[in-house]
């Protein structure tokens, strides 16, 4: 067994046991209950909600982010342990969606935290969410879901972008 094999085993385990902290922002959170309950049942894949970011592996951004919320999201993201993944829901997280001209909404989430996967739609249906989860699992297995590495690499850049919005970190 060499290091590559261990890495493979580790990836296999982390794809089969994705715990999420669903940070409910915006309207996308309402699509989560059907995904969790008997219709789609994401626990089939070992996914489940976790109470705190310390325990969790994926962060779901379920909809538009206000500037105020972004700060909390960043903190939650930084409190998660590597490897960690981010899935952003809906068009608001990509380009602001219907809030494209709002003064208080973050238009592109991946300027501030690395997003591994976007789900398009307003809102995405549970089928799309399930599909995204499967896609993420595949990406993890192939080692492509490397947002957490990007965040470490380009930490200054991300922090610069964040600070542009926050002005102050401690309010």
């Amino acid at each position: 067994m060499n290091a590559e094999d261990w890495k493979k085993i580790q990836r296999m385990m982390s794809k089969r046991s994705l715990w999420m902290v669903h940070f409910c922002t915006g309207c996308g959170a309402v699509e989560m209950p059907p995904v969790m309950t008997s219709r789609y049942d994401m626990e089939r894949f070992g996914m489940g909600p976790m109470a705190t970011p310390r325990q969790a592996d994926i962060l779901l951004i379920t909809g538009y982010l206000a500037v105020k919320t972004l700060k909390r999201v960043v903190r939650v993201y930084e409190q998660m342990q590597d490897p960690k993944y981010v899935i952003a829901f809906g068009s608001c997280t990509m380009n602001g969606g219907m809030y494209w001209d709002s003064y208080n909404t973050v238009k592109r989430v991946d300027k501030y935290i690395p997003v591994d996967l976007y789900i398009a739609g307003c809102m995405p249906r549970p089928e799309a969410i399930m599909d995204a989860f499967l896609k993420l699992m595949k990406m993890i297995e192939e080692g492509k879901a490397d947002g957490w590495k990007r965040y470490k690499e380009h930490y200054e850049e991300y922090r610069r972008n964040q600070m542009r919005v926050f002005r102050r970190w401690d309010e």
Binding site: F23, T52, K71, R72, R75, V76, Q79, D170
Partner: protein
């Protein structure tokens, strides 16, 4: 060893030290520590040198003795007094000479009480000790001292009363003459002595002085709770197994091989343990919490003495020993916290462990002993008392003790979390660890707890010699294991298994590194508030308190206060008699004359 040495080392030396340290002023505690170390070392070396001396002074037969029992208790009291004095070198800041000399007077008194083999010297030394305590409590609060004095006086009166009764029947003050007291007199003597000694032990209805007195200077309270409260246990042991003897006790009838007075004492002890624990859970004052815990733990000792089987009595003696050590460390820990922060309310503290790790370790280990975690010897003594009660098939005493020990976890965690863990307040961020001699004072007491946990056989040798000395059967034990009639345990196996399991956990733990983050990097819903204090220690057991509210409204202290107020009100009315008018006084005199005259006439 002759009488002069015995008397000189244990009584004259501390008294001399007291005078010397009083004259020294600022650095009195250092001298006092040295003076208290001598009896301690002497005690330890003179194990097995049992001897008894009788002499006549002022026409009264007096007697002193060193035997396994009082050797054991002197070891406890001198150990705690030594470490309390060592601790007080820095912790007592004002009028240190008074503190040190009073402590040494208490030491002399305690040694005298323990060595005495006649009632007269017992009483004299008891009063010396009691008055030193009174003055030491007085240093902190006059109110507490007054409450202590009332109970101390009750204790003294009862003991004196008992001594009077004994003297009436035997015409001698010697312990050896007590056998002459007829069996029917024990009906009165037993409760009198139990109340007299039980006060010092803070037995349940007589406990209310303890939370007040234990709120005074903590390094002294370490000695008061650790050392001096054991004198009550010593007195009760003497009353039961030396003065009265099992034969007399059994004369009152037996309940499944346990004598009726013993059973009553065990019941009182179990209720003391239970109620003391439940009250300790809700205290916010660290010192009061420890005081109630002290009351509860001594309840176990009472149960052990009451049950009277060798296992139970041995367990009680062992528990008294353990309690002397761990409660002294806990009070010293509380003293340390107060010394560094000046704060004793648990809800105002928090996170002290990050700044004072060694103090925390000492407190943690003694809390293990208090809660009965098998890593320390506190478990073994509790185990012995439980097993004794279980093998006797007692269904009231046992559950009360067991549930009280579960309650002990609650209040121990209250100390651990509220004071030492949780969020460190900004105003306490600068505090430092204790100086080495204060830590040494705590760790001296930790060492025996750990040693006797691994090899309980060492202390069982001592306890066994006490039991044999008082004519009981011995315990069943080897160096590492101990048995009762219903079970047993081997501590060596336990420790080896524990170490093995710990190694496995350690191996798994060491596989990955961890990054240290500060205490504000906490998950609070994505919020990081450094400006708010988020230490969840205020009214910690609120739900439990709400459930218990209807019961908590009954309080012995309030009952006593009501009684006191009733009498005070009555005396208020009587005071109105003193009008200040001489004519009224003349009228009273005339009335009194008539009353006396009539009574006298009628009598004649």
């Amino acid at each position: 060893m002759d009488l002069q040495t015995l008397f000189g080392i244990f009584i004259v030396l501390p008294v001399l030290g007291a005078f010397l340290s009083y004259s020294l002023g600022k650095r009195a505690s250092i001298v006092a520590t040295a003076f208290s170390a001598v009896p301690l070392i002497f005690t330890y070396l003179r194990m097995g040198d049992w001897s008894q001396y009788t002499f006549t002074a002022l026409g009264i037969n007096m007697s002193f003795e060193l035997n396994p029992l009082n050797w054991f208790f002197i070891l406890m009291t001198s150990l705690t007094s030594f470490s309390a004095l060592l601790f007080s070198i820095s912790s007592v800041k004002e009028r240190q000479n008074g503190f040190a000399s009073l402590m040494l007077f208490a030491v002399a008194g305690a040694n005298g009480v323990l060595l005495a083999r006649d009632f007269l010297s017992l009483f004299v030394f008891w009063e010396i000790m009691s008055w030193s305590i009174f003055l030491l409590v007085m240093r902190a609060s006059g109110e507490s001292a007054r409450i202590y004095m009332i109970f101390g006086a009750i204790s003294a009166y009862f003991i004196l009363f008992g001594i009077g009764i004994v003297y009436h029947y035997t015409g001698s003050f010697l312990y050896s003459a007590v056998g002459g007291v007829p069996a029917y007199a024990w009906k009165y003597l037993l409760p009198i002595f139990i109340v007299g000694f039980g006060v010092k032990m803070a037995m349940m209805p007589l406990h209310i002085w303890a939370p007040h007195a234990y709120s005074s200077e903590q390094s002294f309270v370490a000695y008061l709770s650790g050392g001096l409260s054991k004198l009550g246990a010593y007195g009760i042991f003497l009353t039961f197994y030396s003065f009265a003897t099992v034969g007399v006790l059994a004369g009152f009838g037996t309940f499944r091989t346990v004598t009726i007075p013993g059973y009553a004492l065990a019941l009182v002890g179990a209720f003391t343990a239970f109620i003391g624990t439940m009250l300790a859970i809700f205290q916010d004052d660290l010192r009061k919490l420890l005081a109630y815990s002290s009351i509860a733990q001594l309840g176990y000792v009472l149960v052990g003495f009451g049950l009277g089987t060798p296992l139970a009595v041995g367990g009680a003696l062992f528990h008294a020993f353990n309690h002397a050590l761990f409660k002294a460390v806990l009070f010293l820990g509380s003293a340390a916290v107060i010394y560094r922060t000046g704060e004793y309310r648990i809800s105002e503290l928090g996170g002290i462990a990050y700044r004072m790790p060694f103090t925390f370790m000492a407190v943690l280990i003694s809390i293990f002993a208090l809660a009965g975690i098998p890593i320390t010897s506190g478990f073994i003594s509790k185990w012995m008392i439980y097993e004794a009660a279980i093998s006797l098939k007692f269904v009231i005493v046992t559950p009360l003790m067991l549930i009280a020990s579960v309650g002990a976890f609650l209040y121990s965690f209250r100390i651990l979390y509220g004071v030492f863990l949780g969020q460190l307040h900004r105003r306490h961020e600068h505090i430092k660890e204790l100086p080495p001699h204060m830590l040494a004072a705590m760790y001296i007491l930790i060492v025996p707890m750990m040693v006797f946990a691994v090899a309980p056989g060492l202390i069982f040798d001592w306890i066994n010699s006490i039991l044999v000395y008082y004519g009981m059967n011995g315990l069943t034990y080897t160096t590492f294991s101990y048995q009762s009639s219903v079970g047993g345990a081997n501590m060596l196996v336990f420790f080896v298994a524990f170490m093995a399991a710990f190694m496995v956990a350690m191996g798994l733990f060491m596989m990955k590194k961890a990054r240290t983050v500060d205490q504000y990097d906490n998950y609070l819903g994505g919020e990081v508030r450094t400006d708010v204090e988020l230490h969840a220690a205020h009214n910690f057991y609120k739900p439990l308190r709400e459930v218990w509210e209807p019961l908590l409204k009954y309080s012995t202290e309030r009952f006593y206060t009501r009684v006191a107020r009733f009498f005070a009100g009555g005396f208020e009315e009587i005071k109105k008699v003193y009008t200040g008018n001489p004519q009224d006084y003349a009228a009273y005199a005339a009335m009194a004359f008539i009353v006396f005259f009539l009574i006298g006439w009628w009598l004649l």
